[in-house]
């Protein structure tokens, strides 16, 4: 169940369907128990019910506020099943046609200006995607990584005036990108609304906030806004806004192939 918790955040980030078996719907959420009596596992199941999906398309507007200037990217994102996602940059002109493909644990990036495909691996995974506060590694998080965390319910706190659970996630394997995470989960909507990511030394690496939660078909709650701050970088902030989000759509299988990457 732990893996689902972690993946819900990534799903919101990347519009990536993340967890198998095929996810529960919002109606299946274990919301029968009163919020204060829920176990951490029940909380995670409820989050999955909202965040996990079989397929999805969405438009993403990514705004990167840097020290000197603000850049805005628009992407179309496709997600299918547990492991696969694809994304194409629409604007700005400099990045137009750049595509990213994630199949399982592997990720590739197609660079139209040189007509080459770059595999994203090793140290590049932890670099900021397009100079944003969001790393490729953040995008590559998978079920295996999620299984390395152990959740502990720390208590309740108010976030933006709404009650939320505070959950600590500690990695069993210290070599992961974020050995410790703190999450605040909205008690009514079962959506993680805030997250802090820490290094092994205890230094805070990133802070995430999620909001503008909307209700979709089947009663699914989903955040359509996210703000990520890389605490190591200075004067930087990345905002993601999700628009035209559709769940359960039929997607061309070609999208999730390397042929799609280089298709003009």
């Amino acid at each position: 169940m732990m893996n689902r918790t972690t993946l819900t955040l990534l799903a919101a980030l990347l519009a990536t369907p993340l967890v198998a078996p095929p996810p529960a719907s919002a109606e299946d959420a274990p919301a029968a128990a009163p919020a204060e009596e829920m176990t951490v596992q029940q909380i995670l199941d409820a989050i999955d019910a909202n965040m996990v999906f079989e397929s999805r398309t969405t438009k993403i507007k990514m705004t990167v506020e840097g020290k000197k200037r603000t850049r805005t990217f628009e992407m179309i994102s496709y997600g299918r099943g547990k492991d696969d996602s694809a994304m194409e940059y629409v604007t700005p002109a400099r990045e137009k046609g750049t595509k990213m493909l994630k199949l399982g644990d592997d990720m590739w990036m197609y660079l139209p200006s040189v007509d080459r495909t770059q595999k994203i691996s090793g140290h590049m995974l932890r670099k900021g995607m397009m100079g944003s506060d969001l790393s490729y590694d953040d995008m590559m998080t998978t079920e295996q990584m999620a299984q390395m965390y152990t959740p502990t319910l720390l208590g309740s706190e108010d976030i933006d005036g709404r009650p939320a659970w505070k959950i600590e996630l500690v990695a069993n394997d210290e070599s992961v990108a974020y050995p410790k995470r703190l999450q605040w989960v909205d008690k009514e909507l079962f959506i993680p609304v805030q997250q802090e990511l820490f290094a092994l030394s205890g230094m805070k690496l990133k802070s995430w906030r999620m909001g503008k939660i909307k209700e979709f078909e089947g009663g699914r709650q989903f955040p359509t806004w996210m703000e990520i701050v890389d605490e190591v970088k200075s004067d930087s902030k990345t905002t993601l806004e999700f628009g035209e989000m559709t769940f359960g759509v039929e997607l061309e299988s070609e999208i999730f192939s390397q042929r799609w990457l280089e298709r003009k």
Binding site: V64, K68, R71, S113, R116, M130
Partner: protein, 408 residues
Amino acid sequence: MNLFRLAFLNATRNRTRSLLTAGIIVGGTALFIIAMSWLDGVWGQILEEGTLQGGHIEVVTPEYRARASLRPQDENIDDLAPVLDALRSHEGVVEAHPIIETGATLTVGEEIGDIFGAVMGAEERYFTEYMDVDSKLVEGRWLKEGAGELVLGWKLAQRTGAKLGDEVVLLGVTQDGSMSPSKGTLVGIARSGSPLIDRRVFVDLAAAQWSLDLEGGAMKVLVWGEDREEVDELHASVAALPALAGLDVGSWKTLPPWGGQLGMMDAIRFVLMFMIAFLAGLGVWNTMMMSVLERTNEIGVLRAMGMTRAGAVFLFLFEGVAIAILGGIGGVIAGVLPTLYMSKNGFSYPESMMAKMEFALPTTLYAELSSEIVALAFMTAIFTAVIGTMLPALRAATIQPDSAMRRN
């Protein structure tokens, strides 16, 4: 006059000893000229090449200056045009060139590789007149601006297997940290032995600006005046230009790598000069002291005949100086001849010795002989002889006539 004659006669009485003393002066003077000429020559070439490539004045942002050793990609002069206009129309400025230095992985072929190269973007004139890279081309030609061409250092060409005409893909990062792919046709391969050329990718300024997503900007602007030694005044006037307000303007005399080394070079010169003079002085002192000891009786007689203490001192001083003049002349000849040869023919060293240098230095180094060095060497010879003779001469002056004559 008698003292001079007597001193000269004394100098020729024990010719072996006098020749030994003169030989020490000859050796010291010659060594002085050779060492100083080499030092001046090599250091001069280092400074000449370094300031030719690095400019007499460097204009960057204060944030860049604070992290200059890291070459930060995100601290740039965003609006270059007014800065360049102001500099190029400023009296005393010979030229000003914008520079971009970044990094990229290089690929020749389909698969993007992991061979890293330092990418340098500048105007053609900087590359050809200041870095002189075009003269180091071992294959092909220099790149044409705006034609999507690039020149590679031969080590990069070797590692990537790139051949003339190949399309070379560069995968760098923008000033914001985004992946920045670009490509160019390889038209030339340059080789100098220095990593600054052999491991570099040379592109035109516009290509480097695109790669860094810095249209109309640059990391730094290098400025040259008429004379690097007269940079202080130009530095002050350039720093006061309104168009450069908010930018950091530094001169080569204060910036790394030269800033801290000018004082060090002066110290090296002084220590070298002192060591040579000290050794020569020690030799002179030794032989003159022997002379005084040998002639104790004689000095006693002279003192008994009415020679003053000062006369005794001057007798030995004149003898020492006479030998020093002869030794100094011999030393100048012995030092100038090989130095002249080395200033014309130079000394060549293997390219591999340049591997860790911060700039491209010629593989042949030349001595630089100057009249100042020759004059300084000669004067040092005389001075050394005076100092070396002074103690024995003072000892001679203290000799009592009666006790000296009683010794035998």
